[in-house]
């Protein structure tokens, strides 16, 4: 499966390499566009020392980890959000007649590394914030783990959003509320949100495990909502559960798929 993924991705990369200028502009565009979020954070901290009890570098740390996970998930699998386009164009049918899973074909379709711009930007923010926060090495091991768990969680949400489009072919934008919404939500400390919302993203859609709960461990902070301490370590479990749910939803979606047109 990995081999098929790499092969398809590499083929598309070669195809896009024919347009180097376009590629450079789009990478730059993605870097700038997501940079606006950082500009927003900067403007907020022009006016205040702390947001929801968290300082600038702590917020940058949260932004960086969430951004990195999301950008990686987006580059590797984000293309599945174009499902309804493929369904309407009929190209989804052609993916189903090939001896490879439709998910991999969707994910690699027009694979491009323009989203590297976003990855670089998130990594930069993380790279700036970490030395300033200087967490002890005994807690640093959590950082790569949380990025990987975040990647799995966001990938699962992309897949769930894709599966949702089997039902809502005319309204693919609904999925954006969960994918991009999830990314926006986790860019800030969850302490700014209402308690109900935080419970929802802890126990229903486990976005709190993208970075919030592990970050509380890395930064050695009290949970403002008083949730149990062990939640800081269950991100892998939450990611796995969501991945299973996403895989089931995707399969159910394909079963229910109603090919349109002739």
């Amino acid at each position: 499966m990995v081999r098929t993924y790499l092969l398809l991705a590499w083929t598309w990369l070669r195809a896009s390499a024919q347009y180097p200028v376009s590629f450079a502009l789009m990478t730059l565009g993605s870097f700038t566009l997501t940079g606006l979020d950082v500009a927003g954070i900067w403007i907020i901290f022009e006016h205040t020392e702390s947001l929801g009890g968290f300082g600038l570098f702590e917020v940058m740390f949260l932004y960086g980890t969430s951004g990195l996970s999301f950008a990686l998930a987006d580059m590797l699998f984000g293309n599945v959000e174009r499902l309804s386009q493929h369904v309407r164009a009929g190209s989804f049918d052609t993916m189903l007649i090939r001896p490879t899973g439709a998910f991999i074909q969707m994910a690699t379709d027009r694979f491009g590394v323009q989203r590297l711009g976003r990855i670089a930007q998130a990594a930069l923010v993380l790279g700036i914030s970490l030395p300033r926060l200087d967490p002890p090495w005994s807690r640093m091991w959590m950082v790569p783990l949380m990025v990987v768990c975040g990647l799995v969680i966001f990938t699962s949400i992309f897949a769930l959003g894709g599966a949702l489009q089997f039902l809502l072919t005319d309204a693919p934008e609904v999925a954006n509320a969960f994918t991009y919404g999830g990314s926006t939500l986790t860019q800030y400390p969850l302490s700014i949100y209402g308690g109900e919302l935080v419970k929802g993203v802890t126990f229903i859609v486990p976005l709190a495990f993208v970075n919030w709960q592990p970050a509380l461990y890395v930064l050695d902070r009290q949970d403002p909502f008083g949730l149990p301490y062990w939640l800081r370590f269950v991100a892998p479990v939450a990611a796995l559960l969501l991945a299973v749910a996403a895989a089931l939803a995707w399969r159910a979606g394909i079963r229910r798929y109603r090919s349109t047109g002739s």
Partner: protein
């Protein structure tokens, strides 16, 4: 409903092509009120014509009801998330930038409501598609102003999206957070005019971006540039009065401020109405004039030089 084909006396491609089109618009018979038998192919009187085009834009977009509702859902979710960020900021700094918490939350949901009608993520015009596939040549040959016609269509689109994409997030915001509502009917009237002007300014900018692909081949690059401007300089990310120092002074004078910040401030009563509407009108006229120049250049390029 669309334009009926018109025969041209001046063949397209001759230097007089544009002039002869203008003559055809004022074709004898169509100038006389209601009488058009002298020139059966002539379009209806322009104001009526453009009104119908606006109606057509409205109807055309009603075909995408599911997409519009999905957009409203997403706008609402983002409105809620952004509202919490602003609440946290205003809790830390009450009265910041002359807003209280309720003003800030209202600003947030207004800007979410503007995304659809003001098309803050760019695009929304068939024009860019038509530039790409070359159909623009046909449009430029039509005996009506491409610019006014596209504007009319865009206003129809905006009208439809106000209903489907602006009302739902606002209602949800009001229920969840409680929004500020002006009491003075004059404020509502000024807000309505301001929103209309905001759509025209937004149109002016997007029209220029769409036409730019006549010359700039990398259309996606221009689109992302356009989105960056629209997002960052309009007040969509954060209210512009939070932008510090010189940056703040500059962004508040740029046209994008007329798209989100100014109508929201008119609604919140934070802005002198005459000055606010004057500012918007100025930019609407300026961008429209630039658009007219660009249309002429595009016609020269496409019609006379043959693309």
């Amino acid at each position: 409903m669309s334009y009926r084909p018109i025969r041209f006396s001046g063949a397209p491609g001759t230097p007089h092509g544009a002039a002869s089109q203008r003559r055809i618009i004022r074709c004898p018979g169509s100038a006389g009120r209601g009488k058009s038998e002298g020139c059966p192919d002539a379009p209806r009187r322009p104001p009526l014509l453009y009104l119908r085009i606006a109606g057509y834009g409205f109807r055309r977009h009603s075909a995408y009801r599911a997409a519009a509702l999905a957009g409203a859902f997403t706008n609402t979710v983002f409105g809620i998330l952004r509202a919490y960020v602003l609440i946290a900021l205003w809790q830390a700094r009450p009265g910041l930038a002359g807003y209280d918490v309720a003003d800030a939350v209202t600003f947030c949901f207004l800007s979410q409501a503007f995304i659809g009608p003001m098309q803050l993520f760019g695009g929304g015009m068939q024009l860019s598609e038509r530039v790409r596939n070359g159909d623009i040549a046909v449009d430029l040959l039509r005996p009506a102003s491409l610019q006014v016609w596209t504007l009319a269509d865009d206003l129809g689109r905006a009208g439809y999206l106000v209903l489907l994409r602006s009302l739902p997030p606002t209602v949800v915001g009001a229920v969840l957070f409680g929004l500020v509502t002006p009491e003075d009917p004059a404020t509502w009237a000024a807000f309505t005019v301001s929103c209309l002007l905001a759509v025209v300014v937004s149109f002016g900018w997007r029209y220029l971006i769409a036409l730019s692909s006549c010359w700039i081949l990398d259309e996606r690059g221009m689109q992302s540039l356009s989105i960056v401007m629209m997002m960052f300089f309009s007040g969509m990310i954060l209210p512009l009065n939070l932008y510090p120092g010189l940056l703040g002074d500059i962004v508040r004078a740029l046209p994008w401020a007329a798209i989100v910040q100014v109508p929201a401030d008119v609604y919140l009563g934070k802005h002198d109405v005459t000055r606010a509407l004057g500012f918007q009108l100025l930019w609407a006229v300026a961008l429209f004039a630039l658009g007219a120049l660009a249309t002429r250049a595009a016609r020269r390029k496409v019609v006379i030089q043959g693309g």
